[in-house]
Symmetry: C2
Subunit: 166 residues, 2 copies
């Protein structure tokens, strides 16, 4: 079957009150929703597991295991799944740590405290290397994202949920 | 231009690791994301503003003003927008109240405390009527959703963020 070029225009669907992406070929409306990023701060005996990114954006920088929440899972399940995918680590998810909002890219980042039962981890497909860092050796100048630095500080300060409200 | 019927199949896109909805006609991949519902508990002099739903699901039942977060806004901005759309009410959004997860429908509900500066409100397009209820008169048997009842109780108990973690 020959494929059509993917093409969209913007218009207000019937019964709606704002412009959406509508397919040029059929009646599909692409309701673009904000996306939820779920992650955790995995601890093992006081050290924190960070991953060096193998992909853009911020390739080569250090991050916490985190990624887009998938349908059908809870935020905690998503955070555990991301730790397994990115750091090959089985974590036990603890309490909510931060809610960090990034409205200009339509993202809400949710981070949990987490523990590694054993110091077993590795580099998933999106990771160059994974490593346990003592607090004093965290490479602050090479942290990939502001929400990651924010989660690390919230972990350190330990005052329950911290909401970064823009 | 003649329109094609909207049609999707499920397959794993290149570089991905799970099945997605892919268009039968072009290369569009519909990455279905969990959706964030944002709402608030609007208070005026100890009473709470509820809306009777004009739309399905749960038409005729009472709810708090809430709806899907839109791109480009924060959860608090979305909660204020929904109060204006559904209850024609200008609210001042306060602290986070609840995070209620409903993974089987891929939703995360975020509710805030909020205050009405003046007792001005009305019925938006999705609302049959809006009314201020003293706590003792809240129609518990006619509350539309579990997350709404949960937010009302969290408002009453006043213990900071309550996370409903399935």
């Amino acid at each position: 079957m020959s494929r059509l070029p993917m093409a969209f225009h913007r218009s207000v669907p019937e019964g709606d009150n704002r412009e959406r992406r509508v397919c040029d070929h059929c009646d599909f409306v692409d309701y673009e929703n904000p996306r939820v990023v779920v992650g955790c701060v995995p601890e093992f005996e006081g050290r924190i597991l960070l991953c060096r990114r193998a992909i853009e954006p911020r390739r080569g920088y250090w991050t916490l295991p985190a990624g887009f929440m998938e349908t059908g899972e809870s935020t905690a399940q998503g955070a555990a799944r991301e730790a397994e995918e990115e750091a090959l680590a089985k974590v036990e998810i603890g309490p909510l740590l931060t809610l960090f909002e990034v409205p200009h890219v339509s993202q809400v980042h949710v981070f949990y405290r987490a523990t590694l039962r054993e110091p077993l981890f590795g580099a998933g497909h999106e990771t160059l290397e994974a490593r346990l860092f003592p607090w004093d050796e965290i490479p602050w100048d090479e942290i990939a994202f502001e929400s990651v630095a924010h989660a690390l500080w919230a972990w350190r300060e330990g005052e329950g949920l911290v909401h970064h409200r823009p």
